[in-house]
Symmetry: C2
Amino acid sequence: MSKFFSSKYKNLTPYTPGEQPKEREYIKLNTNESPFPPSPLAIKMANQESEKVYLYSDPNSTVLTNTVAEYYGVKPEQVIMTNGSDEVLNFAFMAYCDNQNKAVFADITYGFYKVFAEINNVPYKEIPLKDDFSLDIDAFIKEDGTLFIANPNAPTGICLSLLEIEKIVSSNTQRIVVIDEAYIDFGGQSAVKLVDKYDNLLVTQTFSKSRSMAGARLGFGIANAKLIFDLVNIKYSLNPYNVNRMTSGAGIGAIKDDKYFKDNINKIIQNREYTVCELEKLGFTVIDSKANFVFVKSDKISGKDLYLKLKEMGILVRHFEKPRIKDFNRITIGDKNQMVSLINQIKNIIGE
Amino acid sequence: MSKFFSSKYKNLTPYTPGEQPKEREYIKLNTNESPFPPSPLAIKMANQESEKVYLYSDPNSTVLTNTVAEYYGVKPEQVIMTNGSDEVLNFAFMAYCDNQNKAVFADITYGFYKVFAEINNVPYKEIPLKDDFSLDIDAFIKEDGTLFIANPNAPTGICLSLLEIEKIVSSNTQRIVVIDEAYIDFGGQSAVKLVDKYDNLLVTQTFSKSRSMAGARLGFGIANAKLIFDLVNIKYSLNPYNVNRMTSGAGIGAIKDDKYFKDNINKIIQNREYTVCELEKLGFTVIDSKANFVFVKSDKISGKDLYLKLKEMGILVRHFEKPRIKDFNRITIGDKNQMVSLINQIKNIIGE
């Protein structure tokens, strides 16, 4: 850090992304990417744009926004497209958190919420998950402030029902509730259908997981048009051309190729069921997941040791040092071959 | 704006990008884009990445960063790559401006500096350009705070010499000076060669103009490694995967194809000379420009009328309503045919 760095960030701890090692080829089950390439239509539409990048992208991402709006059954003015869903989440921290409105999120959830609170210098409160890692709905309802809820939650994979989400959103319509649905397509019920009923609800999603576009960086928010107007004002005050032409093209293609999208989701769900079943046979505790990952622990080996041994064998999973979850590993659901390799290596490790 | 929008932004006025009209085909000389497509190598390398976007981009943009560092003769740890240069500029406002360090910039300059100050809630001061639109170097030197200087300046095109830049940077090494070199490749001297000498200097550049990649969104900062470390910390606290795979590939290709880059710059400079010469023959006042645009006014027609008449005729230029410059128009230098059309239409308009 330089001597010039503003003292307002003196306690800042940046986010730590999952490892992206370059020294060897791993089976990468550590960053919740899709094992499938993007839709051929997404690739084609991205490539059609690359030769046009000498011209600015449309700051309104009009065609992409319309395509997303139509797909989700909302109006274009209820949609904002961003450079990954991290960007729309940060916009929400900027727009809806301040000294009067603290950010509220679970103690075990997407690690970036805390970083967003710190970088924006807003107060925050972490609500402990219950002992079974489920969200303490009543505790959230009682809190003042702006609520950030990942649904399904990460790294647990536990998903609230739409009724539970509505209970939280409707409990106090004078505060914003952000539902981060990065993993919703793998088995959860989206809260998008509630945005016309509640003007205090913002739903965020990403193309990184279910649409195989993590490296293209595309996310979005859906809400009442007034909330989207706030977020668009933030965008136009930071980076009006935030979504580049190639990513915008890929996003349109990904939405239009709905069969490819749904087929891939079904494969992931099948592979998840296979993985859960095999791990349970090996005596693992497996948290019920509606995401493209499972959160698991074994009595036979510590979380850290399993992570390290799998890494030695060429399989990367994600281990967190946080005391409450240090016995667990988060394992991304890849393709069938990857999951078979994983199970075989785990059998080798625990000696079955 | 919603009732939930944080009161800290109550005075926020977002940036207004140049028009991107869709209703007809214009000769677009209003947003300083390149008239030339990106390098064929940039297109090829972008397209090679599109099928890989199911995997996250490298958060360090290692290959791209190394390529840029080598090209500019600095170490990789002296470079940060960003989603357009607007992003690195905002990071600089975040890192180096606060209640103790106001932002200082010219009254007539890139309009986003003021917006960055407002969105970050930091105090700022605008220093009037001199009557001839040149930067008041002595006034900048006397100011406390973090200096933001576009060189060449926009929308004037006036460029400071490297000696003048060094005079400012060295005048007070206890404060940061940001030199925004979005247009430096069209005839100015870059301050990159000063970054090893001054640890208070940050130079920002973009691939949007001279490298024909406005719609790909790629910019960068070069400085002492400690300053880059600050900015990387900000990046990892907002959007670690800020640069997507396709743009990263295009950027590597654009740097490697140096002949294409230099040929295009030479063409723009020739077309600028042609345009200046023709406009001066028509009695225009033309500010001496080292950028890919010219800032011009005529005694025969108001700035606004010229803008409107050209628009009617299918040519878009940029007019600003700010009182001090409302007589002028900023005209992007396009290809030769575009500039011949411009001159012919201006002749029609002013009746020569």
